[in-house]
């Protein structure tokens, strides 16, 4: 017989126990330590920090361990913690020109002041599985260069001298930089909020959209002006002190995408830019972000909005993977009340449909007789 579905409590508690067991796996295999994840799965940690919008390697690594390596789940854990943190204030804008650069490449110039630095990149590796890693073979110390003093000018600054590339642009004087974690988005939005949304947006989603612009859906003829990865100093203005207080360093990836623009009656022809900035090391994300940023500036340049990547509401409303995964996965929650309502309607419509058909057949028979 039917017994009302009881025992949600016990079921949830047992499911959590089983999850904890599966997360730990075979007890004879040593448990992963957080520092191992920080050191050896560093790019996964970077992604969780970037999309979780919280720069803390240890918390990100803990989230990765807790989520069994499901990075979107890890991002979610970090976000749910971040949102409870008190807000002291906002740091000054970072100066990527003063970055301690580990990698810096430009695709638009063969050489440029500061040089091209490959840094720790997969770019020219052959993707052959390496049994040495499985064997745990020792790894040589890398070559090191002396730290160079002074700034490494950004490509955008170099081109700016000729006026061939647009400047960084200004917001109106009374513009207060938005914070999408403290105010609801109100479309249309300004570029500051757009960049915030893209910076925490899903890497895969932005990658696909950036890719779509290259394949003709909102094409903007991009060149990588520059990608740089390294550490920058964070500074906070404290009202009582006459100088900005340094808080420490964070590692970021910056991408300046240089794109074409025909010019208008007011502006002579010049290159425009798309911008990407991401916590940690993630060129794929920074490049995708810069392509999307440029595509989303269509309105600003008076371009026709014809492709998904140029559509602000479409891109920004769907770029957050914590929101997306929540809403997609909520479909597995019970919906039987609504389904019952639909079932009832379908049954009634079917009954009417069948009745009409029977009538029709009888009428035909009568006509034949």
């Amino acid at each position: 017989m039917y017994v009302a579905v009881k025992g949600g409590d016990a079921a949830i508690s047992n499911a959590h126990k089983l999850l904890a067991d599966r997360r730990r796996g075979d007890r004879s295999v040593p448990a992963l330590r957080i520092d191992q994840i920080v050191e050896q799965l560093a790019l996964g940690v970077d992604r969780v920090m970037a999309e979780g919008s919280l720069y803390d390697r240890e918390l990100a690594a803990l989230a990765i361990a807790q989520s069994r390596g499901d990075l979107i789940e890890a991002v979610f854990l970090v976000r749910a913690y971040r949102t409870t943190l008190p807000r002291f204030g906002y740091t000054n804008a970072i100066d990527t020109g003063a970055m301690l650069v580990e990698r810096r490449v430009s695709a638009t110039y063969k050489d440029l002041p500061g040089g091209q630095l490959l840094g720790p990149t997969f770019d020219y590796t052959h993707r052959l599985l390496d049994p040495e890693i499985a064997a745990g073979s020792p790894v040589d110390e890398p070559e090191q260069r002396d730290v160079e003093e002074g700034r490494m000018p950004r490509v955008s600054e170099i081109l700016a001298h000729e006026g061939l590339i647009e400047g960084d642009g200004d917001m109106p004087l009374d513009h207060v930089t938005g914070d999408l974690t403290r105010e609801p988005l109100d479309f249309p939005i300004e570029r500051d909020l757009r960049l915030q949304a893209l910076a925490r947006g899903d890497e895969g989603f932005l990658l696909a959209l950036g890719y779509s612009t290259q394949r003709g859906y909102g094409r903007n003829h991009p060149f990588v002006g520059e990608i740089r990865i390294g550490e920058v100093e964070l500074e906070l203005d404290v009202p009582e002190l006459p100088f900005a207080v340094p808080l420490g360093r964070i590692r970021v990836t910056e991408c300046q995408m240089v794109t074409q623009f025909k010019g208008s009656a007011k502006v002579p022809p010049q290159f425009t830019r798309g911008y990407g900035l991401v916590f940690g090391q993630s060129e794929r994300k920074a490049m995708s972000m810069s392509l999307c940023d440029r595509a989303l500036r269509a309105r600003e340049f008076g371009e026709d909005v014809v492709a998904p990547a140029q559509d602000e509401e479409f891109v920004i409303s769907h770029s957050d993977n914590v929101q997306a995964t929540g809403f997609v996965e909520h479909l597995k929650l019970p919906h039987y009340v609504d389904f019952q309502a639909e079932l009832d309607l379908i049954r009634r419509m079917r009954a009417e449909h069948d009745a009409r058909r029977t009538d029709h057949v009888e009428q035909q028979r009568e006509a034949a007789e």
Partner: protein
């Protein structure tokens, strides 16, 4: 790594104040969707984060909380949300509609009539009733501002032209206090009349979409319809198989793989209460062979 304690009811007080302001604005403009700075919550979007944020912002130590999902107190998500508030707010919880001061719900309104002083908190997935007619927020906002609801009436009319009836069975649009068209959340239209002139305060929270709206007590809530196609609620051919209740919303339960099924109350509290009072349906335990 020093993970601090969480505040009473999880949210910090500044956030609660921000949400309460949005709630007050919502109450002042019945049916109007108030944008609010929704927070990430420790449960996923789509699991009721909007409702949880509202409950967290209005709940006090003396409140008695009831949480239902599909009308039932014991569905897993209702259990989980109730456990969350027990943990972070240490409040009394109940399954009895009459005893609760706050009822958080997903997809149903309790059968037992609500009274003044109670608050019903709805979890809302898509707060915009016009969303499936117009995907753009910038457009739908204008339509609400201009009270331009023709598109919705055209949609309902097209239903009638195609299917002979309005084919919306849940999340059936309502007009609140003669002004805003509002989504009642995906409750079956069976529950729509309960919203009209309800003595209880009704609050709606959509976390992912960052919207809060409200229906204050004793507010007009009218389901959209046409003179020649008046609004109708679902009716069931048989009473609840367990408690014999009529004129309540029923769930269909599949009994075997040969098409056997039974209908039972969706509102489990209501059903259990009636059984305790001695009401029996045709498949109630006493009326059947003893189960093994």
């Amino acid at each position: 790594m020093n993970i601090a304690d969480y505040n009473f009811a999880y949210l910090d007080e500044q956030t609660k104040r921000m949400i309460r302001r949005a709630i007050l604005k919502g109450i002042a403009i019945p049916g109007y969707q108030v944008p609010f700075a929704s927070r990430e919550m420790p449960m996923p979007y789509g699991w009721g984060t909007g409702g949880v944020q509202i409950t967290a912002s209005i709940i006090g130590p003396d409140d008695v909380l009831k949480v239902i999902d599909q009308g039932a107190d014991d569905t897993t998500n209702a259990v989980s949300i109730r456990a969350f508030f027990k943990k972070v707010a240490d409040v009394a919880v109940t399954t009895e509609t009459a005893k609760a001061t706050i009822i958080q719900t997903r997809h149903r309104i309790p059968e037992y009539p609500l009274r003044a002083g109670q608050t019903l908190v709805y979890q809302v997935p898509i707060p915009e009733p016009l969303r499936f007619l117009e995907p753009r927020e910038t457009e739908t906002r204008k339509m609400h501002a201009l009270e331009e609801y023709g598109l919705m009436h055209v949609k309902l009319y097209e239903d009638i032209a195609k299917h002979g009836r309005i084919a919306t069975t849940y999340a059936y649009p309502v007009k609140v206090e003669g002004r805003y068209v509002m989504d009642p959340s995906p409750t079956p239209k069976f529950d729509n009349p309960k919203m009209h002139m309800s003595p209880a305060l009704q609050l709606f929270g959509a976390g992912r979409e960052k919207r809060i709206y409200a229906v204050p007590p004793f507010t007009e809530v009218v389901s959209l319809d046409f003179e020649d196609h008046p609004f109708e609620i679902q009716t069931f051919d048989q009473p609840c198989a367990l408690c014999g209740a009529e004129n309540v919303y029923l769930d269909e339960v599949i009994l075997d793989d040969k098409g056997g099924h039974m209908f039972v109350c969706s509102d489990t509290d209501h059903c259990e209460k009636r059984q305790a009072e001695g009401h029996r349906g045709h498949l109630a335990p006493e009326a059947m062979e003893p189960a093994e």
